[in-house]
């Protein structure tokens, strides 16, 4: 049996199980009401896409910067990186959002909740990225750096030509996982009233007095975002393999 066929069969079996569970809930389904509000779903989905893309880019940059700090020999610089990573990884995103928006952003007069939401989400994800990058950098044998130096490459050339290409290959699976998490974590931005996908779906539920109908489009909407990310990651891993 080919791998793709197996994937499809298992997915179908899983979907059947879920459908079975849904059918046993005694509940009056009202799909037309949900269809009426499809614009709200789409708007929310687009907002989630925008949030995720922005946070994706920002968190990669922040994570890379933090990883560099963590490797630094300057005590203060390393401390900044370490405190940032431990603090952010050790507290829930919910808490960071509430404090970030209602306390910190408020204090500095930053009013745009979309910007604050993206910032908080990026800082959150960036801390995990930093550890992923740091692990990737640490996994590169010291001889690689020695060889690069021995050839006479400048530190910047070493980084660009030798270290980063290897680090990228090493961290790709973990980074892809982190990006998928980011897309899903973006749903929490609803607590500061950002009109993203999950909140919009919940509003449709509330407005149509339905409960469960919105969940299926909701799950499907997220899968549309996360499955391509995973597929892209697997494809890149294949391209970057050391055996050509």
């Amino acid at each position: 049996m080919s791998r793709r066929l197996a994937h499809v069969l298992v997915s179908a079996a899983f979907a059947a199980l879920v459908a079975l569970a849904f059918s046993r809930v005694h509940y009056a389904w009202n799909w037309s009401a949900v269809w009426e509000y499809r614009d709200k779903f789409i708007q929310g989905w687009l907002t989630t896409v925008a949030l995720s893309l922005a946070a994706l880019v920002a968190s990669t940059v922040i994570g890379a910067a933090a990883a560099v700090c963590l490797q630094s020999r300057h005590v203060i610089v390393e401390a900044i990186g370490r405190v940032y990573v431990e603090l952010i990884r050790g507290t829930p995103l919910l808490v960071q959002l509430l404090i970030g928006f209602y306390v910190i952003a408020n204090a500095i007069g930053l009013e745009n909740r979309f910007v604050v939401g993206v910032l908080v989400l990026s800082l959150f994800s960036g801390a995990y990225m930093a550890e992923i990058f740091r692990g990737g950098l640490a996994a590169i044998p010291q001889t690689q750096r020695d060889s690069a130096r021995a050839i006479g490459l400048t530190p910047w050339q070493s980084l660009r030509l030798v270290i980063l290409p290897q680090a990228v290959r090493l961290v790709l699976p973990a980074v892809a996982g982190q990006l998928v998490s980011l897309v899903k974590d973006s749903s929490l931005l609803s607590v500061i009233a950002i009109s993203e996908f999950t909140l919009n779906a919940q509003e449709v539920n509330a407005m149509t007095y339905s409960t469960l109908e919105s969940f299926l489009p909701l799950a499907a909407g997220y899968l549309v975002l996360t499955l391509p990310l995973s597929a892209l990651s697997r494809w890149l891993e294949g391209r970057f393999r050391y055996e050509a």
Binding site: D146, I151, G152, P165, Q166, A244
Partner: protein, 242 residues
């Protein structure tokens, strides 16, 4: 090359690895460093290759003292070549790209000029069929030979080899040693750290025995292997050489 080392001291943390090491050679082609593990051979080689800076002392090749600041050392490193025990090659590049990298990015050759330059050495050492493979597809011996080539194609003044065969099985060890022997025949200057005593004896002009952070004995290959009075050296050879 004429090598002159005075008062060379190196420390890592609280450990002193090289202790006022002194060495002076005549104008030789091949210097081999031997001695027990942890005695300081590799540390010395790294300093000679311009990778590390000693805490004290000086090194001079043909009268030119090695600089101590990183910028100048980098320029020095561009003029020499270094081969380590393993993980020399960059795994994300093909063997050919590994060879081209220093030529293009450090020595400013165009890619085509670089390809032209490496063609003949690849042929000479029978490595052309492997040029487009990635290191993961090469045997240990092939990887080391490509690494040596990479050090050579930049036309260095001399090359440094730190136990290039220690991670290889006997067959691959032989093919790498054969290549180094060819280099000797071609006139390439090198400093080699090795445990391969048979090869050292054949290929070396001078042999220096490094132990306890110092040169315990130094002389021609013949002298060192057959007539060396230093008991620690005799004892070492007796144990190692069959």
């Amino acid at each position: 090359m004429k090598l002159e080392i005075t008062g060379l001291t190196q420390r890592f943390g609280a450990t002193t690895v090289l202790d006022q090491l002194v060495l002076a050679t005549g104008d030789i082609q091949a210097l081999v460093l031997v001695g027990p593990s942890g005695g300081g051979k590799s540390t010395l080689l790294r300093i000679l290759a311009g990778l590390d800076v000693p805490v004290a002392g000086s090194v001079a090749f043909d009268g030119t003292i090695l600089p101590r600041n990183e910028e100048a050392l980098r320029l020095y490193r561009r003029s020499v070549g270094t081969v380590f025990q393993a993980y020399n090659l960059f795994p994300h590049l093909s063997a050919l790209d590994n060879l081209l990298l220093p030529l293009v990015h450090v020595h400013g050759l165009s890619r085509q000029a670089a390809i032209d330059r490496v063609r003949e050495p690849l042929e000479r050492f029978h490595l052309s069929p492997h040029a487009h493979k990635r290191p993961a597809e090469l045997s240990g011996g092939q990887k080391q030979r490509i690494a040596i080539l990479r050090a050579l194609v930049v036309q260095p003044r001399r090359i440094f080899l730190d136990e290039p065969t220690s991670a290889l099985d006997p067959e691959m060890t032989a093919e790498v040693l054969e290549m180094i022997g060819e280099l000797k025949a071609l006139g390439t200057q090198f400093v080699l750290v090795t445990h391969e005593m048979g090869f050292a004896r054949r290929a070396a002009d001078d042999v220096a025995f490094i132990g306890e952070g110092r040169v315990l004995a130094h002389g021609t290959a013949g002298f060192m292997f057959d007539h060396c009075p230093e008991p620690r050296v005799r004892g070492f050879f007796d144990r190692i050489v069959a």
